[in-house]
Symmetry: C2
Subunit: 293 residues, 2 copies
DNA sequence: ATAATAGTGTCTTTCAGACAGTATAGT
DNA sequence: ACTATACTGTCTGAAAGACACTATTAT
């Protein structure tokens, strides 16, 4: 009769083939665009951080920062370590997004990639992460539903949503087309995402980038995560601009202010030297009723 | 100058230590409780499927069904294969829930577990999955927030939510206490879940079971997933009972019916022989506007 | 004065919550 | 007749959406 102890002593993990495991971290931010007219507010741009690969496979392609986990390190710790190493960013909002593990997604060997998503404040990190030496660059995100096909089937339907993801940094344009296939059959609905065409983006990383955008668009509506993109103090118009650039739609000012009113606290400070009426500065209200999942 | 091809030919995956990867699948359902009073409707019970482990480690403990992935098999395919093998369930709603990878969560070696969640129709699978020979059993779920502590800190707070998870099957009672730690610091909020005490549940599986319940409670409010728990035809009262047992609260009938009205289509059929007024049978309306994430 | 943003008031429609009432089978 | 469920109507108040109006700065 063997005990758990003797079992563990004799356990040989190399009996089975094992995949490699990486941790990749999507870093999103919203940054001010340069401005000519002294009166106008700077436009906000939604960006994602990509690294230019220096090694095979996908040499010279752009990828989400990340790497192989250490054997004595938790997944989230690995994500934070990589983020610190590559961008010097730490103590930041991080959440697990999705684990990608399709056969053949990495030409070297079976690689399973646990993907995290983080949001950073543009002011705090803008310079460092844009650092050229690291070959890390912020890419402006343009993500749009461009077409939708629906076919009726008996007892259900099949819908294909076609998305265009364009990532732009200076003269570099990374263009990807994605399909989201929704299959409804009886009471059962399944969703599959796949890359139809992509250009200069490594592995299946375009999938994660688009999924991260959709998750963010969703969670911004019912959680506090936006504030991870904001500086300590901000105007309500800036906050609204961040919502608008992420959701890719205009919002009405009066309604927006009502909606966020219980998430913020006003300060006594105002903006100045803006060529128009000064604006009150606000902070995040940490004592609001939270909603987390 | 080496090409990608020569790089790949010389790539040796055994250079680095690699973890083992498993896929585990939470299977939830809602089942009718036996009934004495011929007039009364059967009560619904929310259940999760657990397997009794026959091998070390955690021999004789209860675990979520799952196992090691094959090297030539996608993650979701692995989840579906295991589900088919162990419970004969197939063609069912499945979604990725979370990937657990803490060091030391498996005493054998580093094991990373990609956890899926599935919902099944009690009528269709009730008998098979309860099959004793497979040592798989349905456990009734009782999941409650039992206490909450909040401590103010400068520039934020720390909140601890204490949950009690009880799983009951006949005379077996599996009791777990979980902490959800919410730490708000400045604009940054982090959430950590951990097991404080658990009894006869293998690995960190109690974490996944509770997280799955919370995800389901959340998604039932704004998606169609409930219908994966329903038979082809059902009464609105049955649908309401399923909502109530998952959310663990009573709902008002008139309001509930208004809320679900565009998700269902009425049939011409009615229930009968119930000892009270017959009820109209409904089906899922596959053509409703969907919300998926 | 002007151009631009800051900020508020209010109407309407929609939706969530609460409650009370009527209807109808099986014994 | 009685019991238990089936089903509907309507009131209230909150929230979402739309729009119009006033206020204030730097040049």
């Amino acid at each position: 009769m063997d005990s758990e102890q003797t079992f563990l002593k004799n356990y040989d993990p190399s009996k089975y083939d094992r995949p490699s495991v990486t941790v990749d971290t999507l870093v999103y931010t919203v940054i001010n665009k340069e401005n000519s007219n002294y009166r106008k507010l700077p436009e906000k741009v939604f960006k994602v951080l990509l690294i230019k690969r220096k090694k095979h496979p996908f040499k010279d392609y752009w990828a989400i920062p990340g790497g192989f986990i250490y054997m004595d390190e938790n997944l989230e710790d690995a994500a934070r370590r990589e983020l610190k190493e590559e961008t010097n960013i730490e103590d930041i909002y991080l959440e697990q997004l999705y684990t990608y593990g399709d056969v053949g997604r990495d030409p070297r060997t079976r690689v399973i990639s646990c993907c995290y998503m983080s949001l950073i404040d543009s002011m705090q990190f803008e310079v460092k992460a844009s650092d050229d030496a690291k070959d890390a660059k912020w890419f402006e995100i343009k993500y749009k539903l461009i077409d939708e096909e629906k076919k009726k089937k008996d007892n259900g339907y099949r819908k294909k949503k076609i998305y265009q993801l364009n990532l732009v940094c200076e003269e570099i344009v990374l263009e990807t087309t994605l399909h989201v296939m929704i299959e409804a059959h009886g009471r059962n609905t399944s969703v599959k995402r796949k890359i139809v065409s992509t250009h200069l983006i490594a592995f299946d990383h375009a999938l994660a980038i688009s999924y991260g955008i959709e998750r963010l668009r969703n969670k911004i509506e019912y959680t506090d995560i936006v504030f991870n993109l904001m500086p300590e103090e901000f105007t309500l118009t800036e906050l609204q601009q961040v919502y608008e650039v992420i959701l890719d739609k205009k919002l009405l000012k009066a309604n927006f202010r009502r909606k966020v009113s219980d998430m913020v606290i006003e300060t006594n400070a105002y903006t100045k030297d803006k060529g128009h009426r000064p604006s009150k500065l606000y902070r995040f209200n940490p004592n609001r009723k939270e909603k987390l999942i």
